[in-house]
């Protein structure tokens, strides 16, 4: 169901409808084309599957020297890309699962994040690390983590999570052009999401949220794929007389708190939806900042919709219980606005129930990863 979303991007004279994967592929091609110092490296980058289609064809266009596979050495290769970055190149690394990037935490945290600061600005690390968050089809405990809060805790790392194809393209271009390390987190389910994408090279600033739907009763600030769930929820809420403002946060660090504060000043209510776990997470951080900086605007205690504090279980029977959806967001939003769930509310919430099994992104999906 989510993949059917064809949410309109800002219309430009030249744009086309694309999937997230196609938009990312275009972004990579444009970056490789415009700057010969750009490199693309990762396990599976040149293989026939092309990282879910995001790297397909790039080796043929830009050569094996600049578009290459890598040994199964996540920490070593991260350090090697850091060394290349401080030496004038702009490497883009790809991890097919963010879980693999955990092997590289030493180089990311101790070197990439600190090289500029500890050497007093004498060197830059223009490194992009694309990390894909798995979901569904039994990805399980070690292939479905959403670890944005881990990276966002580290000063010196920028962390972004686009969801719509236009943002995926513009933010990837901006990340590659950035002189600092950027952790570019792609939820696996954003790859099939379709939307209008401007043609050609453009950069979408990092650290800026985007209001995707205006409303006056409640602010729903969402990260990554939860933005799509939030927009579904908002349509159901509208049928019940609640106009939700949906903000696609797009970046985790820097975190665009001012945009959320402006919205909360209007709505008085805040719900934060994140793809990560509840505790010590991004949702809690955003709520904390809004409460500290905008306490007077709030008419109720903010709530969050997140993963439970549990590893992801594999059996598909648990998927519906593990992953929160538009239903959870709508239900929490109603409670937040002081509306009890009666018969009419139940009917609307039921309409939000996914029509596809909750462990696959769309009806065409056949596995295996």
């Amino acid at each position: 169901m989510p993949s059917k979303s064809s949410l309109k991007a800002e219309q430009t004279t030249n744009s086309r409808e694309q999937s997230g994967a196609e938009a990312l592929n275009d972004a990579l091609a444009l970056c490789l084309e415009r700057d010969p110092s750009t490199l693309l490296i990762g396990e599976g980058v040149p293989d026939p599957m092309g990282i879910f289609g995001t790297t397909t064809g790039l080796r043929d266009r830009f050569g094996a020297e600049r578009v290459l596979d890598m040994p199964l050495s996540e920490n070593g290769l991260t350090g090697i890309c850091i060394g290349a970055a401080i030496s004038g190149l702009r490497p883009i690394m790809v991890h097919q699962r963010i879980d693999f990037a955990l092997l590289a935490m030493d180089q990311l945290v101790n070197n990439a994040a600190k090289w500029r600061y500890m050497f007093a600005g004498q060197a830059s690390v223009p490194l992009v690390v694309r990390c894909i968050v798995g979901r569904g089809w039994g990805q399980g405990p070690q292939h479905a983590q959403s670890l944005q809060s881990l990276f966002a805790h580290i000063p010196g790392l920028k962390v972004v999570m686009p969801v719509f194809p236009d943002d995926a393209k513009g933010m990837l271009c901006a990340a590659v052009a950035d002189d600092d390390p950027v952790i570019f987190i792609e939820h696996r389910w954003i790859h099939p999401v379709r939307g209008e994408v401007p043609d050609g090279y453009f950069e979408t600033p990092l650290g800026k949220a985007r209001v995707r739907r205006e409303g006056r009763h409640i602010t729903i600030a969402a990260f990554s794929f939860m933005t799509i769930e939030a927009l579904h929820a908002a349509r159901a809420l509208a049928n019940l007389g609640i106009e939700a403002e949906v903000i696609d946060m797009r970046s985790v660090s820097p975190l665009d708190v001012p945009t959320v504060l402006r919205s909360v000043a209007k709505t008085g209510h805040l719900l934060v939806a994140d793809t990560g776990h509840q505790s010590f997470g991004v949702a809690g951080e955003l709520i904390s900042r809004v409460v500290r900086q905008g306490f007077d605007h709030l008419t109720a205690a903010p709530v969050s919709v997140t993963l439970p504090d549990l590893p992801c279980p594999t059996s598909h029977v648990w998927a519906a219980h593990y992953y929160p959806t538009a239903v959870d967001i709508a239900e929490q939003a109603l409670r937040q606005c002081g509306i009890s769930i009666g018969e009419a509310e139940h009917r609307e919430l039921e309409k939000l129930l996914p029509t596809t099994p909750p462990d696959i992104p769309n009806p065409d999906y056949r596995g295996p990863f």
Partner: protein, 325 residues
């Protein structure tokens, strides 16, 4: 690096080693003042590895190092005053006070950075060598690390990639037999370290790291091979740290190293050996040595005075340099 007219080129290796020794002795002496408030790992006794290897490099070649980096920084031509200022936490330090002894950099001299996580700069140096190849720079990268680094997975990941892409890098292992207080035999099985590098496909040499001329020759040959496209090179240099792992003192009284081993290595002082070599060749007089000592001491005194008289970093500078401006 300042060379005085009283020293001929024959004296260069001796002078560079002696300079590092005297600088570190001065640091050790002043450490008790509690003004250099950062962990400090002295390389006294190991000067020949730094001087021999860097003597084989061009100015445009790059060097990376780890926690025990003073000698590598100085031998590559790193600015002495900025290093001392960094240890004193001054704004004129090579990292403006953000690094201390364990984070040194002087990019103008080709010293590209040292950091104290064991193995931390190993892949970074390999990445710099990769960039040298991709950008056709003709630059060789030299990387210093210790025997303990062989226990870090990232070293093997890095050697694998360097060999796969035949990168122009010189891996220099300073094998001083100890990781803090733990002997090599308690950390690794009985097999030669250079054999592991050879198994990764590197060309290796295994030699006395306290013989500065042998080190220079081996490094020159290895650097030449690396520069001409023969891929990554490896030197295992056997040496000995005279003082404690971290700090200014001698810690023989702790008994973790045998007195016999300590005495044997002290007798193999790289500086004494080079002096004897020069005297044997009738290339060094007592006057020349005296003048060398005096000039070095003058340079050190001025460097300390300049470094210490510089201001501390302004408090408001703390937030600078987190991101590009």
């Amino acid at each position: 690096m300042p060379e005085t007219t009283s020293n001929t080129n024959e004296h260069a290796l001796l002078r560079r080693m002696l300079r590092i020794r005297r600088i570190e002795e001065a640091l050790a002496k002043r450490y008790a003042e509690q003004e250099m408030r950062c962990p400090m790992h002295l390389c006294i006794g190991q000067e020949a590895t730094a001087v021999g290897v860097t003597a084989a490099l061009k100015k445009d070649d790059h060097v990376f190092s780890g926690h025990r980096a003073h000698g590598h920084y100085l031998a590559k031509g790193g600015d002495l005053t900025r290093m001392i200022a960094e240890l004193y936490g001054r704004v004129t330090g090579c990292c403006e006070g953000r690094g201390g002894s364990m984070h040194l950099i002087d990019q103008a001299a080709g010293f590209m950075g040292s950091t104290p996580i064991v193995g931390g700069t190993v892949p970074v140096a390999v990445g710099a060598a990769w960039a040298s190849t991709l950008r056709n720079e003709g630059r060789v990268i030299a990387l210093f690390f210790g025997d303990g680094c062989f226990e870090e997975g990232v070293l093997h990941e890095s050697m694998n990639f360097a060999a796969l892409h035949q990168l122009p890098i010189l891996f220099v292992c300073e094998n001083n037999d100890y990781a803090v207080y733990t002997a090599l035999g308690d950390r690794q099985p009985q097999r030669p370290i250079h054999g592991i590098a050879a198994a990764h496909g590197l060309q290796t040499s295994n030699l006395d790291g306290n013989d500065v001329r042998a080190v220079q020759t081996a490094a020159a040959e290895a650097t030449q091979r690396a520069r001409s496209g023969e891929g990554p090179q490896f030197l295992e240099l056997h040496t000995w740290r005279w003082r404690e792992h971290c700090g200014p003192d001698i810690d023989d009284q702790l008994g973790y190293r045998s007195p016999e081993a300590q005495a044997a290595w002290l007798a193999r002082c790289p500086i004494q050996r080079e002096q004897e070599h020069l005297r044997g060749q009738k290339l060094l007089t007592e006057t020349e040595l005296h003048n060398m000592e005096r000039n070095i001491q003058q340079e050190i005194d001025i460097a300390f005075d300049t470094a210490i008289s510089a201001p501390l970093p302004p408090v408001e500078n703390m937030h600078r340099h987190l991101h590009a401006q």
